[in-house]
């Protein structure tokens, strides 16, 4: 209990500190009175309850909270995988809550980079081909796609593993390939859902260091959902969510 309180304080302090450092930058994610409800039998369940949130461009934010608090639901909304029941959600200047399926998919492919907990690499493809996947939706030629995928793999330090398949890589390497896939199309925002959840401490540190680099050196806005306090400490802003509301 005392640990939670400490954590909450840290969160608020971090948020304040971050607000100070990023005050000059405009918000890239703006949530206004976001409600996301699900129906279980005939009972309405508000997973997000009139949530207001602003995330500054170029920030690295961690989102923590107990299971069922609405972290992943919020992440899915911001990433354009889901739509709010009510409220407005503007991401990178686009009101995603009002977009149709096709437009939303196109927007996602250009604006968002995904890092998943379980890496989610396609097992029949090599690391290079997995990284190249998002570029298949662009008009880039084959050689240009390959070149960009190689660069992305170089950024994550896996250039020498580009022809390996996922089953030939360690968990940490798989996640770094996942990160390369998330940045290959140069998105503005990277959403990471428990990116270190499947990794040992050393691999987790490597992945977090990589996310920090992407944030600082490449100016990517990163929103990371995590249960790991050590991971959360690496973010510049730490937010806590409980019962659909930000604390």
């Amino acid at each position: 209990m005392s640990e939670e309180a400490t954590s909450a304080e840290t969160s608020k302090a971090s948020a304040k500190a971050s607000d100070t450092t990023t005050a000059k930058r405009s918000p890239i994610i703006v949530c206004r009175k976001i409600v996301r409800s699900f129906w279980r039998a005939k009972e309405r369940l508000d997973v997000l309850d009139e949530l207001d949130l602003e995330i500054a461009e170029g920030s690295f934010e961690a989102l923590m909270g107990p299971s069922g608090s609405g972290k992943t639901t919020l992440l899915n909304l911001i990433a354009g995988l889901d739509r709010p029941t009510s409220g407005t959600l503007t991401v990178a200047g686009t009101e995603v809550s009002a977009m149709g399926d096709a437009a939303l998919a196109r927007w996602r492919s250009q604006t968002i980079g995904f890092v998943f907990q379980h890496f989610n690499l396609i097992p029949v493809l090599t690391a290079l081909e997995n990284v190249e996947l998002p570029l298949l939706l662009t008009s880039l030629g084959s050689s240009e796609r390959k070149k960009r995928a190689q660069i992305a793999l170089r950024v994550v330090g896996l250039e020498d593993r580009m022809h390996h398949r996922p089953q030939q890589l360690s968990g940490g390497q798989e996640q770094r390939v996942g990160i390369a896939r998330a940045i290959v199309h140069d998105p503005k925002i990277i959403v990471a859902d428990e990116p270190t959840g499947e990794l040992d401490r050393k691999s987790a540190d490597e992945v977090l260091h990589l996310l920090e680099r992407l944030n600082k050196e490449f100016d990517k806005t990163i929103l990371m959902v995590t249960h790991d306090p050590a991971a959360a400490e690496r973010a510049t802003v730490l937010r806590k969510l409980d019962k659909g509301k930000l604390l």
């Binding site: 899915n76 990433a79 995988l81 889901d82 399926d101 096709a102 998919a105 196109r106 996602r108 492919s109 250009q110 995904f114 998943f116 989610n120 396609i122 097992p123 029949v124 493809l125 081909e129 190249e132 996947l133 998002p134 298949l136 939706l137 084959s142 796609r145 896939r181």
Partner: protein
Amino acid sequence: MTLSGLSIKNIGHNWLRTILTVVGTAIAILSFVLIRTTLSAWEAGVDNAAQDRLSTIHRVTFVMPLPKRYFDEFNGARGRIPGVKASTFMNWVGHKHPTRETEFFATMAVDSGTYFDVYPEMSVPPDQLANWKENRQGAIIGEALANQFGWKVGDDVTLTGTIYPGDWKYKIEGVYEATKKSVDRAQFLTHWDYLNDSLPEGRRDMIGWVASTVDDASRAADISAAIDAKFDDQDIQTRTMSEKAMTMEFLGGASAILSALDIVSLVILGIMMLILGNTIAMGVRERTHEYGVLLALGFRPKHIATFILGEGLFIGLLGGALGLLISYPIVEQGLGRWLEENMGAYFPYFSIPTSVSALALGMAVALAGLAALVPAYSASKLDVITALRRIG
């Protein structure tokens, strides 16, 4: 990598299942090709029948004979029919091998003087033909029949009569080779005179049918009508038709079997489609989470559907190609050669027609595509979040 490349790479998710499905498809295609080739070989006589040859039979059925004197109206002894170039006659004798009764071959008593003028596509060495014409008990046999029973020129052969009972002794005087696909390569040809003279008085001077070649194949219908008109006022009327029509009538009894085989070949393709559909559906179900990832990355439902369709088409293409690859040595070289040697009367030419190969490959691909339609449609309706939550 390309979108289509990604679709094809998906077959590598479960190699064992893919290989089994491709092999299953290949076996179905092999069965289809075998049945279709059998039907095609069976009907080869019809398809390759001479366009310029007519058959004149009893008006009621070819089983009933015509008087021998009718032939005189054809050959100039008592008249000539305008447009008819040459004519001959023959009787179906129906002899059997005394010990290998189930091995069918056509035995015909023919007019030795005119037969090979009307059937020039049956090539007999001149010395053998001359010897046969000299010997009333002589026989000329097809090369396939010679191979089937190991008969050669000079052999004495005794056959058992069925339509004309008793033991019939012949000497093999010649072996003919077929120069066209319309020819049955397993016939046993004897002298009509020998048959006629051996019959009791009441059964003599009757012939099975008259075969005639015409000057102009495009006038075959008019000439047929003219032939039949000539016998309109006789006690027995005739029916003249093209060789093709005659062959079809002769094979008419087997049409039910042929139709059944036709249906079986389609049923095999139906089973193949179900196997493919099941495999594709299993793969799609297992990869739901993966499709969720692709959707999250920005791929559209139409992409997912296309991947699945592409995968199905590729498996169908692989199975069809493998099926054809194994069909040629098995059906054409192995079984086909054996059938031609041993059942030449039924299957004088047993080879896979190009149209059957094309149809088999086309059906494999098309049905695989059809089988993939439902899984592709289902996958295209996936909700991204639900798909991402699905494990395995």
